[in-house]
């Protein structure tokens, strides 16, 4: 446990000056900022629709969630898996990392957990910024009715699902980035996978849920359908989420076996 903690602290220390770390903070800040600016600058047009509060929140949250769920989330996860491993590939530091008196499982798990942590931070910020900026909009444009509905449940559910459904992709991409030092292979496979995921999810292929890259899109789509009926009623642990978690677990274990046999040439 101690060596896991030590490795995690070191991961943070190493990456705090890198784009990967700041992306976790800047991405939600920029996307939520842009959407909020849009809602502020075209407030008159939006007010003309006379949305009920729940729909207004729905439109506002959906703007960020759709962008994230469809495209940004898979790529963001691919990028995180890449950068956590690339820091060692780029500097040729695997050899020193594995020459430290720490067990290999801790080193590997710390890297994985750090990537999970960065994704969590990013999505947590998305949810909190959506909530916070929504209320800020209410202050800036008092005619809005954001204050008449509490969207916390929708936000927490949707982002929890997004988070859990992305873990399958993370584990898969983590292995690819661990094995290959270059940028193109994991990125290329991730790109093709994501496009495939979007297509199969949209044509409603029966087995789309078996492709990890589909899962964020699928999990959010179900959220949207259910939201029309009763927004508080959609379950978090759906088939997509379980699939994602099973993928994540299996691939995490596979990754460890790769690491433990990895020869540092």
């Amino acid at each position: 446990m101690r060596s896991l903690y030590i490795s995690l602290v070191s991961e943070f220390y190493k990456s705090k000056k890198t784009l990967a770390f700041w992306a976790a903070i800047l991405l939600p800040l920029i996307i939520c900022g842009l959407i909020t600016f849009g809602f502020y600058s075209s407030s008159e047009k939006i007010l003309n629709y006379h949305y009920p509060p729940i729909m207004l929140w729905g439109q506002y949250c959906g703007a960020a969630l759709n962008v994230m769920g469809l495209l940004v989330m898979p790529f963001y996860v691919i990028f995180m898996a890449f950068s956590v491993n690339n820091i060692e590939h780029k500097n040729d530091t695997w050899k020193t990392l594995f020459a430290q008196p720490l067990n290999k499982f801790s080193i590997y798990t710390a890297k994985y957990l750090y990537a999970v942590g960065l994704i969590f931070i990013s999505l947590f910020l998305f949810a909190s910024l959506t909530y916070g900026f929504g209320h800020l909009l209410q202050v800036l444009v008092p005619k809005y009715n954001f204050n008449q509905y509490n969207p916390l449940n929708i936000l927490i559910n949707a982002y929890t699902k997004l988070f859990l459904s992305s873990l399958g992709i993370l584990s898969l991409q983590f292995i690819l980035s661990l094995v290959w030092a270059d940028f193109l292979k994991p990125m290329g496979i991730g790109f093709v996978g994501t496009i495939m995921g979007i297509i199969t999810a949209n044509v409603g292929w029966k087995y789309a849920y078996l492709i990890p890259y589909c899962l964020p899109t699928l999990s959010l789509r179900i959220t949207k359908v259910k939201k029309g009926a009763n927004p508080l009623d959609f379950p978090v642990f759906t088939q997509e989420i379980w699939t994602s978690l099973i993928y994540a677990l299996i691939l995490f274990i596979v990754g460890y076996f790769i690491v433990s046999r990895k020869s540092i040439k």
Binding site: S7, K95, A99, Q100, I264
Partner: protein, 302 residues
């Protein structure tokens, strides 16, 4: 076994079908500076990686401080510091941050970072990003990283690579200091014998994965047989005369003749003999084959 910091017993290692290390039996005594010599591609770096368990060795072939490496990886690595190939440094971090990161991993006080920077003369560049460092500075940072845990055994793979003459002398003195004052064991690899000769107490010479020589530096010196070199006017005739007189000729050019040196007395006799027979001997001296040539010989013949 108890006296060796490193002992390998008939170590074999392959990459696929290619044998990199063959039947290697290293014996590095505690407290020694062991020069691990060999031309590029001889298997030095591979051996060092095996000693760090970065490459998996067959069981019961590698012992560090008497312990089998595969079963005692963490316990052994706690006592070992290493610099392997190019120093592994996080380029986006400063020199000091690289050391602090290592302190975090080793669970030691962060103040050690500044101490190490001072030791390798990088205090002024402590807050400079390490990808802006020169090769020599990176090398020194690499040495600092290897030393930060105060290990009993240091594995240094070509530590003077890229250093200027001053830097080389500094590293050399640092190694002697660490071995003599702090009783560390140091295994230092190099492809230059001259560099090892001044510091090492023991030498191992490896070529194509095989250990060709292992022993103290004095034993290596003894391997090089002294020669008598004779500069004489007509080397062809003189050569014929010398061999007719019952001496073995080891080498002959148009300026000098080389024969094995046996004793000062014998040299004087031969000199008198040549002069008496009308040869003009301009110089006659004992020559010890230098270690560099010896090293080349050892690695060439195999």
């Amino acid at each position: 076994m108890g006296n060796y910091a490193i002992e390998t017993v008939g170590l074999n290692f392959n990459f696929g079908n290619q044998a990199i290390v063959k039947d290697l039996s290293l014996q590095v005594p505690k407290g020694s500076i062991y020069g691990f010599l060999g031309p590029n591609g001889a298997g030095k770096t591979t051996t060092i990686k095996i000693l760090l368990n970065l490459l998996k060795s067959p069981s019961d072939q590698v012992f560090i401080f008497g312990k089998e490496i595969n079963n005692n990886r963490i316990a052994i690595l706690k006592r070992v510091g290493a610099l392997v190939e190019q120093p592994a440094i996080y380029g986006h971090l400063t020199g000091k941050e690289n050391l602090i990161n290592r302190c975090i991993l080793l669970g030691i006080k962060k103040s050690k970072a500044s101490e190490m920077l001072a030791l390798v003369g990088l205090s002024d560049a402590a807050d400079k990003k390490s990808n802006k460092y020169s090769l020599g500075m990176k090398q020194r940072l690499g040495i600092a990283l290897a030393l930060v845990s105060d290990p009993e055994l240091l594995l240094l793979d070509e530590p003077t690579n890229g250093l200027d003459p001053n830097g080389i002398i500094e590293v050399r003195n640092l190694m002697i200091d660490l071995a003599v004052k702090h009783h560390k064991t140091i295994l230092v690899s190099s492809h230059l014998l001259a560099e090892i000769e001044r510091t090492a107490t023991h030498v191992g010479i490896i070529n194509k994965g095989q250990l060709l020589f292992q022993g103290t530096i004095d034993e290596l010196h003894q391997l090089s047989k002294p020669m008598l070199e004779i500069e004489v006017d007509d080397t062809e005739k003189a050569g014929a005369f010398i061999s007719k007189s019952g001496y073995e000729i080891a080498g002959q050019t148009d300026k000098k003749i080389t024969i094995p040196f046996t004793s000062a007395q014998e040299s004087a006799t031969l000199n008198a003999l040549l002069v008496q027979n009308g040869f003009k001997v301009s110089s006659l001296y004992q020559q010890r084959k230098d270690l560099e040539n010896l090293f080349l010989d050892i690695t060439k013949t195999n």
